[in-house]
């Protein structure tokens, strides 16, 4: 059984009349990589800053290994943090930046040198080449690696990452996020990563906290978040989602009408009555062109758009009032359908989610 490391209890943060975190309850295990995911202003950074000690909660508690750290100052929490803007000390070279926390902790100079070298090797910027460089002499990606080394050098019990990749270009982002994840795995340090990029969160997290307007919408593994979104917000924020407007035909038979086509669903929400409107949602990759694998739900429509994305082709099919997006793998022997071509699309009724509004 996983060991609980960090517990957040009824955490509330209010700025004036604006409540930015509305009673968060979360529990993170030792060594986990957790992402706080959500749009700007959802409260994810505020939670991180409360864990760091930069913001005082209006109410609620933060417990690390069962001990309440809420009253502690940031410099008493033994937490490492990497900031979006790198925040390297401009007056210090790389070695001095990484050694800063060790110096504050009173580590003797010879041990400090060894630890700095160890950390710089860990992030792939050996001291012999990069140690004497100043931050302004390095690229953004290199600066952020140094910031990571600086945060990890004093052996913190937890690592906080506040959108550390946001200021970097796309290619560096991908390589650095993988590097961060492998370093985190190597050290086994509990890590909280704040991001608004769902792909980033899905690709590197053990579990994800999806937030919206100060509320925790869902807390689960990337697989659960993507495939079984708990709320409409999670479903629309994470990944692409088709939403079809339907009408209940026969509640007992689980049949609904979508643009004049009758579909039989696996189930309907309790209390669904005939003629009641419904929103059916499904991922583009759950929908197939034709009926290749005996899917039980079939719809007919006309090709409205074709987007060739390389390995994947995204099609938009006009069903009448509704439009359905679907992704199909590029097959070198089969060209994509033409515009206005009449097609059949299919999916499994189990892949259709009926989300509460």
């Amino acid at each position: 059984m996983a060991e609980e490391f960090l517990r957040i209890e009824n955490l509330v943060k209010t700025f004036g009349t604006n409540t930015v975190v509305k009673g968060a309850n979360l529990s993170f295990n030792r060594g986990e990589f957790i992402s706080l995911l959500g749009p700007s202003g959802c409260g994810k950074t505020t939670i991180l800053r409360m864990v760091a000690g930069f913001e005082r909660p209006s109410s609620g508690n933060i417990l690390v290994e069962g001990k309440d750290i809420t009253p502690l100052q940031p410099n008493q929490r033994k937490v490492g943090m990497v900031f979006q803007a790198y925040a390297l000390f401009p007056n210090m070279n790389v070695e001095d930046n990484v050694a800063f926390g060790l110096k504050i902790a009173g580590m003797p100079a010879d041990q400090r040198r060894v630890r700095v070298e160890e950390m710089l090797n860990l992030i792939g910027l050996p001291a012999a080449t990069f140690g004497k460089r100043f931050p302004f002499e390095m690229s953004g990606g290199q600066q952020q690696r140094v910031a990571l080394a600086r945060a990890l050098a004093p052996k913190p019990r937890m690592l906080l990452l506040d959108e550390p990749l946001s200021a970097l270009d796309a290619k560096i982002r991908v390589s650095l996020r993988q590097e961060i994840r492998s370093i985190q795995r190597e050290l086994g340090i509990t890590t909280i990563f704040v991001t608004h990029d769902q792909e980033e969160a899905l690709s590197i997290s053990d579990r994800i906290v999806v937030m919206s307007a100060g509320n925790v919408e869902q807390f689960g593994t990337p697989f659960e978040i993507y495939n079984r979104p708990a709320t409409r917000f999670v479903a629309t924020f994470v990944g692409t989602l088709n939403t079809l407007t339907a009408r209940v035909l026969d509640a007992a038979a689980h049949t609904v009408d979508v643009d004049g086509q009758v579909l039989r669903l696996a189930s309907l929400p309790a209390g669904a009555a005939a003629n009641a409107p419904l929103s059916l949602t499904m991922r583009p990759e759950a929908v197939a062109l034709g009926k290749p694998n005996g899917q039980d739900v079939v719809l007919s429509g006309k090709i409205k758009e074709v987007h060739f994305l390389g390995s994947v082709i995204r099609l938009k099919v006009d069903l009448g009032q509704n439009t359905l997006s679907l992704d199909t793998f590029n097959d070198t022997h089969t060209p994509p359908p033409a515009l206005d071509e009449q097609v059949q699309v299919s999916l499994n009724s189990s892949d259709i989610l009926i989300l509460p509004n």
Partner: protein
């Protein structure tokens, strides 16, 4: 376009003549102590005068003390206003401008009234007390320049993030100020320091009324009793001021290295 450029040069020339003309006249006069030609005798007379040496060193020491006290007040104040109370900035800026609005004569009479022998803190009773009072007066006088220089320095760095980064690595406020903030605004701080020095070295009103024999008072005394030496002193004090300004320019070249983050 060409016409505009010509006018710019004309305006520049008029300005240059307006400012440089009197200076050249002063320089020429300071070199004219002998009837038979130019000489540096006036400067020699000034430099060998023990009063000059004493008053100049005295002024420098008071200037350095005013800079140190000013920095101890201004750097933490500007830092905390930027970090914790940005809403107070307009108020602080207004307060720091007051020394420009209130004439030094008013300031010094206020001081004498507050700290004379009949007050509860009779600083003017002793020479040390009077010098302390003079230093504090110069701190107030230099406040507009010092605060702005430090504030400009703070604007070039991300004060909040650097503070938080150092804080979470275990540093307390004093360590953050001394090891992170201060070194990164050093160039700006030195600009403020040189401006303060330039002001202090030439100041007369407050020093005279507090009866402290500093350089400004010496210059006034020489001006009242001699002919050519005051001109030489004026040129010397201009050179000192320019040297201070030159140092600011020189230091500004090093600014980008430490200011970029």
């Amino acid at each position: 376009m060409k016409n505009g450029k010509l006018w710019a040069w004309v305006m520049f020339a008029v300005g240059a003549v307006y400012f440089i003309g009197p200076l050249l006249a002063t320089l020429q006069f300071s070199l004219s102590i002998r009837r038979d030609g130019y000489s540096l005798d006036a400067y020699r007379n000034v430099f060998i005068s023990p009063d000059f040496q004493q008053s100049f060193v005295h002024s420098l020491l008071i200037g350095v003390a005013a800079i140190v006290v000013g920095l101890l007040i201004v750097v933490p104040a500007a830092y905390f206003v930027r970090l914790r109370a940005p809403q107070l900035r307009p108020l602080i800026e207004f307060v720091t401008l007051l020394p420009l609005i209130i004439p030094p004569i008013i300031l010094v009479f206020g001081y004498i009234r507050l700290y004379s022998s009949s007050s509860i803190l009779p600083l003017t009773n002793s020479s040390v007390g009077t010098e302390v009072l003079l230093i504090l007066a110069y701190v107030a006088l230099a406040l507009p320049y010092m605060y702005r220089a430090v504030d400009t320095g703070l604007r070039t760095i991300d004060v909040q993030t650097l503070t938080e980064a150092a804080n979470i690595l275990g540093a307390n406020t004093l360590t953050i100020l001394l090891q992170v903030i201060f070194p990164n605004i050093l160039v700006a701080v030195l600009s403020g320091a040189f401006l303060t020095l330039a002001i202090v070295v030439g100041e007369f009103t407050i020093a005279s009324l507090l009866n402290v024999p500093v350089f400004g008072v010496y210059m006034q005394n020489v001006g009242a009793n001699r002919a050519f030496e005051p001109a030489a002193l004026a040129v010397i004090s201009f050179v000192i001021t320019w040297a201070a300004m030159g140092m600011i320019q020189l230091l500004a070249r090093f600014a980008p290295k430490t200011a970029r983050s």
